[in-house]
Amino acid sequence: MTYFPEEVVEHIFDFVGSHRDRNTVSTVCKAWYQVERLSRRTVFVGNCYAIGPERVMARFPGIKSLSVKGKPHFADFNLVPYDWGGFALPWIVAAARLCPGLEELRLKRMVVTDDGLELLARSFPNFKSLVLISCEGFSTDGLATIATYCRGLRELDLQENEVEDHGCQWLSFFPDSCTSLVSLNFGCLKGEVNGGALERLVARCPNLRSLKLSPAVSVESLNKILARASHLVDLGTGSFAVDHRTDVYHMLMNSFPKFKSLRNLSGFWDASPCCLRAVYPVCTSLTVLNLSYAPAIQGDDLIKIICLCFKLQKLWVLDSIGDKGLAVVASTCKELQELRVFPCDIYGAGTTSVTEEGLLAVSSGCPKLNSLLYFCYQMTNAALITIAKNCPHFTRFRLCILDPGKPDPVTDQPLDEGFGAIVRSCKNLRRLSLSGRLTDQVFLYIGMYAERLEMLSIAFAGDSDKGMIYVLNGCKNLRKLEIRDCPFGDIALLKNVAKYETMRSLWMSSCDITLGGCKALAAKMPRLNVEIINENEETYEFEENLSDLHKLEKIYVYRTVAGPRNDAPDFVWTL
């Protein structure tokens, strides 16, 4: 291949799609490295502190699409302090300077400011797509600048962000000349929405295929929008509750039948059962249905709608569906691949919730099931063993038993055997979250069998350091390990330090790690950032005086080529 001209090599690399393959290709020789870096169009940075933005942009000057992730996953559970870091601005600044051809930016769990959004809006003339997931730090003013300056914007996708509301006018900032929108999602916004501006925007964007509204968008507004957007494939409704005696309700009932292409439905904020009937006409062609924001829809109404959805591939519901409703899913949704069941109420045992029976039924009836997030109050080993046999194709298996440390209620045993069966049977398992009473044994199974596992989440599990050691010594594809409230200490932390350089990150909180252990780790592995997050104001001012035996509340360890970060707040020490 060294005798081929560069254009030919580049053309061949066009067929090398995945990030990993392209990374591998670039390490073959200098010539390939050069061709690859100049022809790379998409870069994914899984940890924004693993490398500096300038270095990325300098290596890949031609990128059109950049994806960066900031805070560790446990930030979703409030375990990462508010001002820990993950700032987007340095990335936007570097891209503005070095990669002005950027067209797409995707940020997850990062702090994005209005200034950053304005810089973004003004710096990239071809900018087409902005996706922000679980980000914070910006307001509707920032969205207004995106609307104003990004001519030709195709996608604005805001998922579960914390956005400060500075008024509803940001939608009006899309100029009349903006007709290019394909996807608009502002479901996470809390403030009022300018209905008229929204309706006009939808009306002038003939390519709009995905529209997800916030709870503030009324049914009346929705009716008007639906009248102008009959090519939608993906709809997230706004508010979905009106009195059935009104004209608005009757219009709603007649709004859906004409949608021939609608495949995804979500939103249904506080939906009422009688309004839900409006979507029955499109159920038979739905592939994605998300009713998890509709606590007023109880089991029987859920069953009525699910009975119609025989093409469903992805279903998100609340546990009010009950085992009975899941049995209906099992008998109706034969194409189901992903199921998420969220809890309505985490305070008590709940009269309507799901148990192992519901999951058993789905595993038995839905052979294509490969992705699961299931909140329940109990699980048995027997059920897990059967589920593992029924569904060997799981790639993501996240089980959250709401009582920490709860054993199998039938046998009073830990759930080691059940989860062991899952990892043994599901050879393609990439992501696993454990719960319930678990001993070191489950980690032995995971280390032995979970060869493709990339992400493991552990809470309130294990008996000793051995548990963590089994995982670190096995699981050769492990990338992210997050642990909370487990009896793992320095011995486990230091047993296999080289492993951490093969991983993206390790999070441990409320375990038995000491300052001395972390110091030892940092000393042995200079290419890791060993971050200690110490929110106890009494001790962080006197770090030199802390004994090595001092137990650490939170640590975050990650490989990096950028050295200790320069934006760490006072309560984060990098050893």
Partner: protein, 173 residues
């Protein structure tokens, strides 16, 4: 809750929550140590302290009954409640009031909106029920800190996860 409500003029920021609520930070942010909380107590008027100590001599029993009583006393927010203006449903500011907790000789004050106070009371209620039902041989895989903190910590972080999904608090029904 005890009958003694600490009024806004004698406000002590025990937990370092800070004022304003100008940014949407979680109310249970960084926690001050108990030593600092006791420091706060030393700055309070002696009369208040006396009443606190008197109240806390049977603290545990009173706490349980007080929480149980409070749970039934707090009104559940509903659309017809006078707290909500019908035209401002999405922008209605939460009514913030002090929640005073007397426990084991220490007093803490939170300024909380009604929903958050309800959530805390529900959590404690659930803990009380759980505490009664738990068998003494129930294995606990995690270490004990501050007695009973763990399940609450887990529930708080789960609650936060679920709230973030929704973008609002709906889990108080």
């Amino acid at each position: 809750m005890s009958g003694t409500m600490v009024r806004a003029s004698v406000e002590h920021d025990f937990f370092g929550i800070g004022g304003g609520g100008s940014s949407k930070k979680p109310t249970m942010g960084r926690m001050k140590s108990f030593r600092e909380i006791h420091g706060e107590i030393s700055r309070m008027s002696p009369d208040v302290i006396k009443s606190v100590i008197a109240a806390s001599s049977t603290a545990v029993e009173k706490t349980k009954t007080a929480f149980a009583a409070a749970t039934t006393r707090l009104p559940v927010p509903n659309p017809d409640s006078s707290f909500r203006h019908p035209k401002m449903d999405t922008a209605a500011p939460a009514v913030v009031a002090p929640l005073t907790i007397f426990y084991n000789g220490a007093v803490t004050v939170f300024d909380l909106p009604q929903e958050k106070a309800e959530n805390i009371l529900k959590l404690v209620e659930a803990e009380i029920i759980e505490g009664v039902d738990a068998s003494p041989t129930e294995p606990v895989a995690s270490k004990e800190q501050d007695g009973g903190d763990l399940p609450m910590a887990r529930k708080m972080s789960l609650l936060r996860f679920l709230e973030r999904r929704q973008g609002k608090q709906i889990y108080n029904s």
